[in-house]
Amino acid sequence: MKRSETYNVKEELEQLSPLLASLPKKNTMVDDVPAGYFEKAEKEILAQARIHSYEGSKPGLPDGYFAGMEDRFMASAENKKSKRRSMVIFLFQAAAAVFVVVLTSIIVFRNSGASGADLKEDVAQEEYFNYLQENIDEVDIETLAEYDLVDESDLAVSQYPLPVNSEPENGQLFDSEINF
């Protein structure tokens, strides 16, 4: 406030009302302002100002946000639908693969019910050995090899033809049959 303006106010008042101009401009309401009020009020106001400032700094909607919303929504829905379809196909294929594996396992399990491995578990080794010896003509050569009834080297294919009209010697039948 300029000093000349203050002077003008006083001068004006003296001209208008000497009585009023003579009164002290004492603030009679100062005493009932709580101690520290202005500091507290400032803190409260600034706290609200910060909230307002924070709310004002929230990002707004980009230009044209609503204009393209329908297309974006439809594209998103289509994309989700496509993903869902792909997932169903994948699950179907996985389920089919599992089904085939399980089915194959069952078939193999059932067909291999007389396999040597299972027999080895269920039948005593000695009994099985005896059985093979007694029924040697009914058993293939791989099974014999598996149970050490023939040597692996005996399985090698001979390049030499069997002599015509040659008769195996007694006690060598077994060997001759495997040694061509």
């Binding site: 406030m1 300029k2 303006e5 203050t6 003008n8 106010v9 008042l13 208008l16 009302s17 009585l19 009023l20 009164l23 002290p24 401009k25 004492k26 603030n27 009679t28 309401m29 009932d32 302002v33 709580p34 009020y37 202005f38 009020a41 400032e42 409260e44 106001i45 600034l46 609200q48 100002a49 910060r50 307002h52 400032s53 004002g56 700094s57």
Partner: protein
């Protein structure tokens, strides 16, 4: 304590990085001036506190849209004046007048009618008899010693009309004091 001037405060507020600092200077610069301006209008401290908070929140909410067609000082005073007058309208002044009347009467009874304290109580009662806008003009001129052109910006009234209003208010108050002193 020295503060940046209004122009610098506005620049601080308009930059997001310094906005809170700008608000701090704004509140620190105007809190007491506005409080007393409001308090003279509404009388009670609690009411003045409410109106002061509302005033600053309006200032803070709208300051980014402030176009500087008037000074920040008068713009803020205009908001405070409107808030104070709206408050008085909402209370219909009934409670305030009754309270002020009782307090002032009691005060006058305790003092010699010609003592400074008694005269100041009478002055408060006299001011309170003025219409709200005339009381606002009187307070801005008498207590804040504000130039007419600034009061004109705050009240959006011509300087000639303001001078007439102020002179008439002084006359009414003098008559009130003379009648009761």
């Amino acid at each position: 304590m020295s503060f940046p001037d209004d122009k610098d405060i506005l620049e601080l507020i308009r930059s997001e990085a310094t906005r809170n600092e700008g608000f701090r200077f704004l509140v620190a610069r105007y809190k007491e001036k506005l409080y007393w301006h409001i308090r003279r209008m509404v009388h009670e401290h609690e009411d003045a506190d409410d109106v002061l908070q509302n005033t600053f929140m309006k200032v803070i909410r709208h300051i980014e849209g402030f176009k500087e067609q008037s000074s920040l000082y008068t713009w803020i005073y205009r908001i405070a004046s409107n808030e104070a007058i709206n408050f008085l309208h909402s209370r219909q002044r009934q409670t305030k007048e009754a309270t002020l009347g009782l307090v002032s009467a009691a005060s006058v009874d305790q003092h010699d009618n010609h003592s400074p304290e008694a005269m100041l109580d009478l002055l408060a009662r006299a001011i309170d008899t003025l219409p709200e806008k005339q009381k606002l003009v009187f307070n801005l001129r008498y207590y804040d010693e504000m130039p007419y052109h600034q009061i004109a910006e705050i009240t959006e009234t011509s300087e000639g009309a303001l001078k007439a209003s102020y002179h008439l208010a002084v006359r009414k108050i003098e008559d009130f004091l003379k009648a009761r002193a």
